[in-house]
Each structure stands twice: as C-alpha cells, then as structure tokens.
C-alpha cells in the first residue's frame, strides 16, 4: 500500500478503515488462490472449446439421458442465487436489523451466480450459435421461454438491486480518493448523500426489495415447471414449483453461510459477521432443513402411494436402485447433518454453520442430480429403459470451471466494493438503535 493511500485511510472512521482495506491491500495468498481458480476456469473453457468444435458427443449424454451435468448445474446455480434475494430483500422488508452487515455479500452472490447459472443451458445447447432463435422465433407455450423471460428479468432487477444500495459506498470511495478516482466518479453517478438523495435512495430500495421477491419466486418456479410440464415419471408433479423455490432458498442460505465464514477469516471481519449472525442464519437453515424434509416426503409419498408403474421405476431406482448412493447422500446432506447440527445452540457457530452449509450445498446439488438423471434413464416406455449416464471429463471440467469462475469473480469483486455495506452499518449505529427502541415502545400498551 502506498504511503499516500495509507494516510488517507488513517483519517477515515474505524468502519471505513476495516472495510475499505481489502480494496487497496491484497495479500499474497489472494493471488495464489486467484491464480489457481483462473487456471481451472481456463481449463474448463478449453473443454468447452472441444465441445463446440466436435459436438455434444464429447459429453456423456445419450438417448434417453438427454440432460445431465449442465442442467443440474443450471438448477443448482440459479438456486444459489436466491441467497441475495432472501437475505437482503425479505430481511429489509421485515426490518430485521441484523441484516445490515450481510446484505452486500449476499446480493453480490446473487448477481454473479445468475450469470454462471444462466450460461449452463446455453452450454447444453447442440447449436449455441442459434441461441438468439429463442427471441426471433419465440414460442410462448414453451416453459424454456418462460425461463428465458423470468431469468432475464431477474438478472436485471437483481443487478439494479445490488447497484442502488451500493451508491453511498461508491461515493465514500470516490470522496476518499483511495482507488481509481475516475472509475468511482463514474460509478457513484453523482451521489452526494444529501438528505434528499438519501430519502430517495431509501424509497427506491424499499420498492426494489418488494419487486425482487415475486420475481425470484417466479424464476425457480418456472425452472421446476420445465420438468413438471412434461409427462415424465417423477417430473410431472404439481409440487415442483414450490419445491424448487424452497430448495433454492435453502441452498442460498447455505451458500451465504459458507461465503461469510470465508470472508470473515480472509478479511478479518469478526466484528461484522458476529456469532449472532451465524446463530440466526443457522436457525433459518434449521427451519429449511425441516421444510426440505416435508416437501421431499410429500413428493415421494404421493408417487409411492399412487404406485403407477412408470413412476415406480424411477422411484425405486432412487431409493434402492442404481441411484441409492446419491439419494441417501442427499438425505444426509439436506436433512440429517443440518438438522442434527443446527438444532444445537453450540453448533450455530461459524465452524458449525460452515459444516452444515457445505453439507447442504452438496445435498442440494445431489437433489438436482436425483431429479434430472433417474427420470431421464427411466422413461415411461419400459422397453427403452436401457439408459445409463456417466458424465465425461468435458462436462466435469466445465462444472469445475463454473465453480471456480464464480469464486474468482466474487474474489475480484471484493477488491472493488466493500463486502459489508459501510453506510448501512453507519445508519444502524446512528439511527436504527433509537428507531428500534421507539418501535418496541410502540408495540407495548401505553404505560400507566
């Protein structure tokens, strides 16, 4: 760090010093990790180059397993993106004050991960060169087109929803002059934090956080409908819309917990991501592990009880057949581990939530696997049940590149924006403490 920057930083408040430090100071381990992630990402891009050159034959896909890793990752990543919406929008709307230090990191996950999710179905296309046909020859009855529409809207609204609450922080960086003055002058868009601007900002954030919720719900509902609208066993189910939304929020909370533990360690944010945050998010994770069990149980019991032969083939393939390992690992990761850890107060710590969060992420990835693959290889017409699916190295490399590419971009983003919202912390200190006290007083009967 240069001397001039150090002096500028020293003159700022304590919050600003801690939260802006990552923007101007980069550790050696950051470069090493970033380099490794970049290498994995480039390797995945090479794999995709091969796939585009030679055709989708380079994957392990076949007939009847038309869909595989890419569609699983598509559902998974778009699911993760619900982290930002839930944590930030719902907590803002419900005036949950503990949200202040976690909104930014959550919203950033949302925006970056939507991009990585949305490219998955394009990677999956046999003719990616014709992808614009979905606009030129749009066929409105196709659930895939509903998907294009709602994901597009979701991406735009989430980007705005990330950017607008970032304005005061961008203005702080611009005024401090610690980094790229021109860039931040442009990004801050003339925001001066006058009382009128602040009032307008809060009104816009209020409106956005309400708009973004139904859009987020629609996105994962429609992704569930891609499967549910077909007549295939274990896909053709009315529960899929809500089931997918619930699963998305669940994996989103897990993702943000993992991100928070890493950020807290990497940037020394113990004062911002406190034990209480992990406790609250841990409780939320616990609630969703129970919800997950409820939805999954309802889905499988309905299929089992009806006993329709086509459904039963896919059903038993998952419970006791060739997919028993991914199925029961999913139950372990999505239910048993998070339930047994998060129901204990002593485990709702950074370490405990990290373990539960990783278990849930693995479990939710497997859930999508257990939806896509067992049904694919067990089509309704039994004569054709000859299927098997083993992903090729090309698919696995592209999946690894998706994970590393997302992590890399997220890391880079922490070098350009404070990962905890400075102005929201400040507002919390200056106004909310009093406001909450007043609000609680309002709930109570007038004192005698």
């Amino acid at each position: 760090m240069r001397q001039a920057v150090r002096e500028k930083l020293a003159r700022m408040s304590n919050d600003e010093q801690i939260l802006l430090r990552p923007l101007v100071e980069t550790s050696r381990s950051f470069y090493i990790v970033a380099g490794l992630l970049a290498a994995v990402t480039l390797w995945g891009m090479f794999a995709y180059y091969l796939q585009v050159t030679y055709g989708l034959g380079r994957t392990g896909l076949n007939r009847p397993s038309y869909w595989g890793i890419y569609i699983i990752c598509f559902v998974f990543f778009i699911g993760i993106s619900h982290a930002g919406t839930l944590i930030s929008a719902i907590l803002r709307v419900s005036k949950a004050e503990w949200r202040r230090s976690i909104t930014r990191s959550a919203e950033l996950i949302t925006v970056l991960v939507i991009g990585f999710g949305a490219i998955q179905p394009i990677i999956d296309l046999g003719r990616p060169d014709r992808v614009l046909n979905v606009i030129f020859n749009a066929q409105l009855r196709s659930p895939l087109l509903w998907d294009v529409t709602s994901i597009g809207l979701y991406f735009i609204s989430c980007t705005i929803y990330l950017y607008v609450p970032m304005l005061p922080d961008l203005a702080i960086i611009r005024d401090s002059g610690i980094k790229a003055p021109r860039l931040y002058r442009f990004l801050a868009a003339g925001y001066r934090d006058t009382p009128a601007q602040r009032a307008r900002l809060e009104r816009v954030i209020g409106v956005l956080s309400i708009i973004v919720i139904p859009i987020a719900v629609s996105v994962h509902t429609v992704i569930g409908w891609i499967f549910a609208m077909t007549l295939r066993p274990m896909w053709h189910s009315t529960i899929f819309g809500p089931y997918f939304v619930m699963g998305a929020i669940y994996s989103g909370i897990a993702a943000i917990l993992v991100a928070m533990v890493v950020l807290r360690r990497a940037f020394g944010l113990q004062q911002y991501f406190k034990d209480i945050h992990f406790d609250y998010l841990g409780r939320l994770l616990l609630l969703f592990s129970l919800l997950w069990f409820y939805f999954t149980f309802a889905e499988y019991l309905t299929a089992f009880y009806g006993g329709e032969p086509g459904e039963m083939r896919a059903f038993w393939a998952k419970l006791t057949g060739p997919f028993a390992i991914p199925f029961w690992t999913m139950v372990l990761g999505c239910f048993i581990i998070p339930l047994s850890l998060m129901s204990r107060r002593s485990m709702r710590t950074p370490r405990g939530t990290l373990i539960a969060g990783i278990a849930v992420m693995i479990g939710m990835w497997l859930e999508r696997f257990n939806i896509v693959v067992p049904t694919s290889v067990n089509p309704r017409w039994e004569i054709e049940s000859i299927g098997q699916y083993l992903p090729s190295w090309v698919e696995l490399s592209i999946m690894a590149a998706t994970f590393s590419g997302f992590t890399l971009l997220y890391m880079l983003a922490t070098k350009f924006v404070p990962i905890v919202s400075i102005w929201e912390i400040k507002e919390g200190r200056e106004h909310s403490v009093r406001e909450v006290a007043d609000r609680v007083a309002e709930y109570l009967p007038e004192s005698a």
Binding site: G55, G60, R63, G126, P128, N133, P143, W381, E384
Partner: protein, 227 residues
C-alpha cells in the same frame, strides 16, 4: 384435408427390420460407430422393438415397429422454445433442422422416445455418400431429427398428380418402410378418407395405440396379435 396415419399389423410383422434399413437409406440417417451405438447414440427413425412375454421356455416374442406416432396432440411441439417442431395441416409432425437450437426438450417430452439427437455431425463412407437421397436434407451436428412419414414423397406424389391432372391416389404416397415391408404389415394412408384402407382398419376391434391414456392421440395404430 388429409390426415395421414399408419396401421401396423403385429400378427404380420416378422421382425425382419427391413423397414428400419429402408428408412435409414431413404432418409440419409447416418450410421454411428459401435461404441457410440452402445452409448445409446444411434438414430433409427423407424425401430423394431422386441417385446418378450412369459417365462423361459414358455415365451412369446412380439415385434413393435415404432416410427414417430405423429400425435394429433404432440407433447414435443408445445415445449419447443423456437417453434422448430410443428404439426402441419395434414397431421404430420416435422422438425425444422435449420432452426433447432438442440436443447433436447422435445426429446425429453416425447413419451415414445422418437426424437433423435445428432451428437456429432453425420459421417458417410465415399460409397454411401454417392447414394444419399437428394430429396432429404442432411442434418448437421447438434440438432434433433425425426420420422417425417417420408414427407418428401408426399410432395413428389402431389406434384406428379398435379402434372397428370388427377387426384392423389392412395398408392401414390407411401413411406419407405411401408413400401419395403415383405409381409405388408404396415398400411399407410389418409385416416379420414373412406376409400383408404387405414380408414376402416383404424376401427378394427384389434386396434391399440401406444400410451393412448396420455392424451397424445397418436396416428399410428397397432393391430394386436391374435393368440
């Protein structure tokens, strides 16, 4: 307007698979390597499915030649995001190869599994290349293809009939699989035209349609084997 359909008499089918071969050569369906075929990547617009009943040694085997069902209510066309698969006025379900983006949603939606994907581009030996059918377009890598009831034959037959100034006759338009069947197990024609054989056969008491209960209204009828 005609409504083209097919009746397949399972009693007459010997499982010789001549229909499969004729279809491949008529429609320029490229063969794939043994490894690719084992992975489930061979295309066969017409496929003779074998169905075994009973326990060894008391078994009977039936053969189901299975083309596209050309459903009146096709699940594949609803899900296509780019209108690349469609049903025409005469009930033939087609695929626009030049527009298909290769998402394979239709292949997943079809309960009969008759939509085939081109995992790689087609490859022919020099000898095969010289015998490609000029009336049928060759499909590139990355698109879905399917049975068309040899629609190109309909176009040709219609032109011939017009040139000769007469109506289209039943025998003018027959798909390749029907032409080649040595036991006449496959009968083809206009389901709505009382002078065509399929019109009466489709109401035969032996008739069954595959997965009729799904509401797809297939236009391929099977005549159940007599015991």
């Amino acid at each position: 307007m005609a409504r083209w359909g097919m009746v397949i008499d399972l009693d007459r089918c010997t499982g010789c698979a001549a229909c499969e071969v004729a279809c491949k050569s008529e429609n320029n369906v490229a063969a794939v390597s043994v490894e690719q075929a084992d992975m489930g990547r061979a295309s066969s617009w017409m496929k003779v499915m074998a169905h075994v009943e009973g326990e060894f040694p008391d078994t009977t085997m039936h053969f189901y030649p299975r083309p596209c069902m050309h459903c009146d209510n096709p699940p594949c066309i609803r899900v296509c995001p780019v209108q690349a698969t469609y049903i025409d006025d005469e009930g033939i379900v087609g695929q626009i190869y030049a527009r298909c983006i290769g998402c394979r949603y239709c292949a997943n939606a079809c309960p009969y599994m008759v939509k085939y994907f081109n995992w790689y581009g087609p490859e022919w030996s020099e000898a095969e290349r010289q015998h490609l059918n000029p009336d049928v377009s060759v499909r590139p890598a990355g698109v879905i293809e399917k049975c068309t009831f040899c629609h190109h034959r309909l176009q040709k037959a219609r032109e011939d009939a017009r040139a000769e100034g007469r109506e289209l006759r039943e025998e003018d338009y027959q798909p390749a699989c029907v032409d080649v069947c040595p036991t006449n197990a496959i009968i083809f024609g206009d389901l709505d035209n009382p002078s065509h054989a399929v019109h009466t056969l489709k109401d035969d008491p032996r008739v069954l349609r595959l997965m009729e209960d799904l509401g797809t209204q297939p236009k391929v009828y099977y005549l159940r084997p007599r015991d």
